[in-house]
């Protein structure tokens, strides 16, 4: 297992290199941020002086080389806006995002497991159709729309939850529901189709022929098997979750990474953009690694090689 993990971690190095290249290229293409950094009445001379000072007049390769050199030291450069190092700013926002992601994942799991299993065991019943239809709607609802609707209903009209911000559990509930709904919908669909297939397997029939209660047949023998594809696909969708988090955080003024990133993009605070994208990339990679580990724990047939 340790060998396997080590191997996987080493495999990340080229992935991170590619990501760094892409991120840097995008920023390079996005153009000179100097104009935005200076007051509006700055002279052309001022702009040029700052450009040279920041090394932004150098050719692409030189800039990239310098950037990479800094990067391996964990230095993403200074934020223009906050005038401090970018990475600590990003890491400071990370817990809020992780909190939101974890809460929405918990909500998704609580909804998706029983619903998915339950509609698979009652395949084609009207309740199954209702659940499946609900999942389609849940998936189709855009995060910003759902977020705004929830705020209007529960915060503005009913006053049950705060409109925005972070702090108490009450602050967390609406954003977590907003972000969790789409994930729950997708997971329900996955668990259902996986369970439908597993329930027709020979070993499920064997379990029934032993006289086991239906609950054990479904949750011991079938469900664990059905989780194998679910875990893999859910991990692959971490990036979708991140995308949803960007929007949800903005809607609810949730002080997380997403909010910081969107602000940074708007103000072309490129150091922060780069540090955030990099952090998110590492998160996604980490989730995939985690899925791989879970997958291996679930399925004894897989050898570490």
């Amino acid at each position: 297992m340790i060998k396997f993990l080590l191997k996987r971690v080493l495999e990340f190095i080229p992935v991170l290199l590619i990501i760094s290249f892409i991120v840097f290229s995008l920023v390079f293409v996005a153009g000179n941020p100097v104009a935005l950094m200076l007051p509006e009445d700055a002279s052309q001379e001022d702009i040029e002086r700052l450009t040279v000072a920041l090394g932004l007049d150098q050719p692409f390769i030189v800039q990239y080389g310098k950037y990479m050199l800094d990067l391996v030291q964990g230095d993403f450069g200074k934020s223009f806006r906050y005038n401090t190092d970018a990475l600590p700013l990003v890491l400071e926002r990370l817990p809020a995002t992780l909190e939101l992601a974890a809460a929405s994942m918990i909500i998704a799991i609580i909804i998706a497991i029983p619903l998915g299993v339950w509609s698979a065991t009652r395949k084609n019943s009207s309740l199954d159709l209702l659940a499946t239809g609900g999942a389609v709607i849940g998936k189709a609802m855009p995060n910003f729309w759902l977020g705004i609707m929830l705020i209007l209903l529960f915060s503005v009209t009913l006053g049950w939850f705060p409109v925005s911000g972070r702090g108490t559990i009450a602050h967390l509930i609406l954003p977590a529901i907003t972000l969790g709904t789409g994930v729950a919908a997708e997971m329900t669909r996955l668990i259902r189709s996986s369970m439908v297939e597993i329930l027709s397997q020979d070993y499920v029939r064997t379990a029934k022929s032993k006289g086991l209660r239906n609950f054990f047949v479904v949750y011991k023998h079938a469900f664990r098997n059905s989780l194998i594809p679910v875990v893999t696909i859910t991990a692959l969708q971490t990036s979708t979750l991140v995308g949803g988090a960007l929007i949800t955080e903005t809607v609810f003024s949730w002080p997380g990474l997403g909010q910081l990133l969107i602000q940074a993009v708007n103000t072309r605070d490129m150091a922060i953009v780069q540090a955030s994208v990099f952090t998110i990339a590492i998160l996604v990679i980490f989730m995939n690694l985690l899925a791989d580990v879970v997958y291996r724990i679930l399925d004894p047939r897989i050898k570490y090689s």
């Binding site: 020979d202 029939r205 064997t206 022929s209 032993k210 023998h221 399925d299 047939r301």
Partner: protein
Amino acid sequence: MKTGTAILDVDDLHTYFRTEHGVIPSVNGVSFEVREGETLAIVGESGSGKSVTSLSIMGLIDSPGKVEKGNILFEGKNLTTLGKKDYRKLRGNEIAMIFQEPLSSLNPLFTIGNQLSESIKLHQKVDKKTARVKSIEMLRHVGIPRAEKVFSSFPHVLSGGMRQRVMIAMALSCNPKLLIADEPTTALDVTIQAQILELMKKLAKENSTAILLITHDLGVVAEMADKVVVMYAGQVVEHTDVYTLFSNPKHPYTKGLLNSTPKFHETEEVLASITGTVPTPSKMPKGCKFNPRCPFATEVCTTQEPVLREVADGHKVRCWLYEEKEDAI
């Protein structure tokens, strides 16, 4: 011939599947009984309803299938009206089942020990430790070497033959009165087949377990069975003891089956093999369901369905050939 009270009495069983393509009468009026300690074989081509019959007895027919009509009496209890909970108490305990596919019949995510001790714990109400001891004992009993090691192994490390031994151990762990074996050796190598059959025979004898053996291999029938039911298109076409089946088969389908088995090519009428295939439910012929493939089919066969009639003591046939003879007498 063995005698004894019938422990299983299947009477006029009808199991239908209601699908989008219409009603499929997979089992259509099947009757037979299995006596204590006796082995009854059900033979017939693929699709004749053998598995559906056995799953009906186990109470494992899932929607869209349903036992529509008929009774299944097990030790006098009518299983068709038995409550779910009582049925579960029988399953894996008094009636156990072995399936055709040893490779896929064990759950890949749990150890052999986990799956084996599961039913022991459930039905014998013993603790984990006792169940473990019993399981290992059972594994040894079915001839598995290094039983302790196998106990904590996952199914994928075992061969097909070993897995089928595990299935047998699992099925017999609670000393069932009836063992239903649905083509237990079809998926195995010939040499392993003989070993598994031998094992089943030995263990069944030890505990006087009755066996309902489903197969389409007449060699297996000759080896194992006391009595035989021949099924065709969801019906019993011939029902007799194993000696009569091979020495004096009556139904043209049975004769055809025997003739397509190399060992028995010297029987009187020559039917090289049966031409054609089993009719699909949507294209069921009128009259006798076998008539399109039957070399002896007459007018009446294509219009009216024959009934299962006793032509000699304990020998029943569903065929117009024998109805006529009776009428003539």
